[in-house]
């Protein structure tokens, strides 16, 4: 691992973000719109018998954005390079794939921290919801777990795009919204029909959202859910990395990796 190379990819990522309205809208604009939507909805619900549900909505929305932004950053960082026919330029430099992804993960984490901080302050000031009441340790563990999950999804999607071409690039931004209801980000898992509950528990972030809701409603930490999420994440990280490596190798073997830029 070379710090210099990671810094270079980070610089590229920073410059693209800075100069592309689409990214600013996707990362910051969409978060703000979601916050306003769920914030006002929560204000409405607070005046009813569903005050806790209102808080769950805002809690889920703030945490879900961590997943969305990091996954977006990891997947889109490569796509910007593919669209510009620059990805092979990057990989014919002495750059390791691990350095490339680590840089995009760090970039995603940076953006997620920025958006989370801004949104949580707005949520506190405008919608009277203080996510920091969960405690620093809880928040850090939630952030860690959600980051790993986002990275797992991000590199799995990239593996598919590298292997099968940019015809399936929509996965990079369209897959993650499908997971939002399936992982019960905004409501307790028990709301889902039984078969979907079983599916929900296949995702590590479902446990994170359950643990967050537990902390909000009962105080303290749901260590069982947090540790379950963590170990599942490690397992999925292993699988996802393996999957990416196989897809990347196949893409180079079939010539698809080079053809992606033709």
């Amino acid at each position: 691992m070379s710090f210099c190379r990671i810094k270079s990819v980070l610089l590229q990522e920073l410059r693209i973000t800075y100069s592309t309205v689409g990214i600013i809208m996707d990362v910051f604009g969409l978060s703000l719109v979601s916050l306003l939507l769920f914030g006002f909805l929560s204000l409405y619900l607070t005046g009813t018998q569903h005050a806790l549900a209102a808080q769950f909505l805002l809690l889920g929305m703030l945490l879900w954005d961590i997943v969305r932004i990091i996954q977006y950053s990891v997947s889109m960082g490569s796509l910007w390079n593919i669209w510009a026919r620059n990805l092979s330029n990057m990989f014919i430099a002495p750059l390791y794939v691990s350095e490339f992804f680590l840089a995009h993960l760090l970039s995603g984490i940076g953006k997620a921290i920025l958006v989370f901080t801004l949104d949580s302050v707005i949520a506190m000031l405008v919608f009277h919801f203080n996510i920091y009441q969960l405690g620093a340790v809880n928040l850090l563990l939630f952030f860690l777990n959600l980051s790993i999950f986002a990275f797992v999804i991000g590199i799995a999607i990239l593996g598919l795009i590298f292997r099968y071409g940019i015809g399936i690039q929509a996965f990079a931004w369209a897959l993650i919204p499908i997971l939002q209801p399936l992982t019960a980000a905004l409501f307790p898992v028990k709301v889902l029909p039984t078969p979907l509950q079983a599916i929900a528990y296949l995702f590590p972030c479902t446990y994170v959202f359950e643990a967050a809701r537990y902390s909000l409603s009962h105080g303290g930490s749901d260590w069982h859910s947090i540790s379950t999420a963590f170990f599942m994440n490690l397992f999925y990280l292993f699988l996802s990395t393996l999957f990416f490596m196989i897809m990347f190798r196949n893409a180079k073997n079939t010539g698809q990796f080079a053809r992606n830029e033709l």
């Binding site: 330029n89 990989f91 430099a93 180079k252």
Partner: protein, 310 residues
Amino acid sequence: MSEVILQVENLVKTYGSFCAVGGISFAVPRGKVVGLLGPNGAGKTTTIQMLLGVTLKNGGTIHYFGKDFSRHRHYCLQRINFTYAFNTLLERISVWDNLVVFAGLYGIGKPRKKILELANHLEIIDLLPEKYQNLSTGQKTRVNLVKSLLNDPELVLMDEPTASLDPDIADKTLSLIEALRKARNLAILYTSHNMDEITRICDEVIFLDHGTIVAHDTPGNLTKRIATTQLRLTFDDHQKGIDDYLKSHPYRYTFLDNHVVLIDVEENLIPKLLFGINTIDVCILHIEIKKPTLEDVFLQIARGGKNVIL
């Protein structure tokens, strides 16, 4: 004998039952320009992709600086570079930022100094603050060249570097490449469809066809492989007389019109031919001798011609 920078042995690439590259071997010595030529689908791009590691080979070996590329990928990539007419840098960011990113990827100690030095040399100083997407094709080519020289490579793979450039800019770019090669004793593996370019810049030419090397020689020697020169004669009204004379001799010929004939003839037989025609009371108005060019060799090979001695 110059040090060999790139040594390719028996390189093979297959896609299912289709053989894209069928066991080619060649070397690129230090300071030499080796051209890779061939019709579309000959395997040039696949070969370049394997040499860069973006496509995996099925067999054979690639050695840079004596080291196996598959085992010392990063060591090799640090000492070579690549430029391609259709590979671009990131469109939305400035030329400067693009170059700083690549300087970082190659671990250049003083990127600012290096970029300014190269930008000055390739006359793109004014372009550095511009967004890459705002550049003309010629400007992008020069920026790509700067990128390909950032790490002081000992070998640059150039895939059609002048494609889509107008003749003036293409000529300037070629002059630049020639100067760089001379100044840095650079080895270059060069692909192009422009035969004049190849003749001008390459020390050796490798002809690929259907994934195999069908000829490998200097441009001069390759043109000598076409056995015949083309003689174009413009004459007065005696077409029948010429036709009768040529029929009685083993020449291939075609009348372009009643006054012009093209004759394929070995160069040393031209005086004999002209003397013979002169004896049949034909007045020759104009003689044009077209010696075979690399393009003729290319066309003969691409069309499976019999006139090339392989």
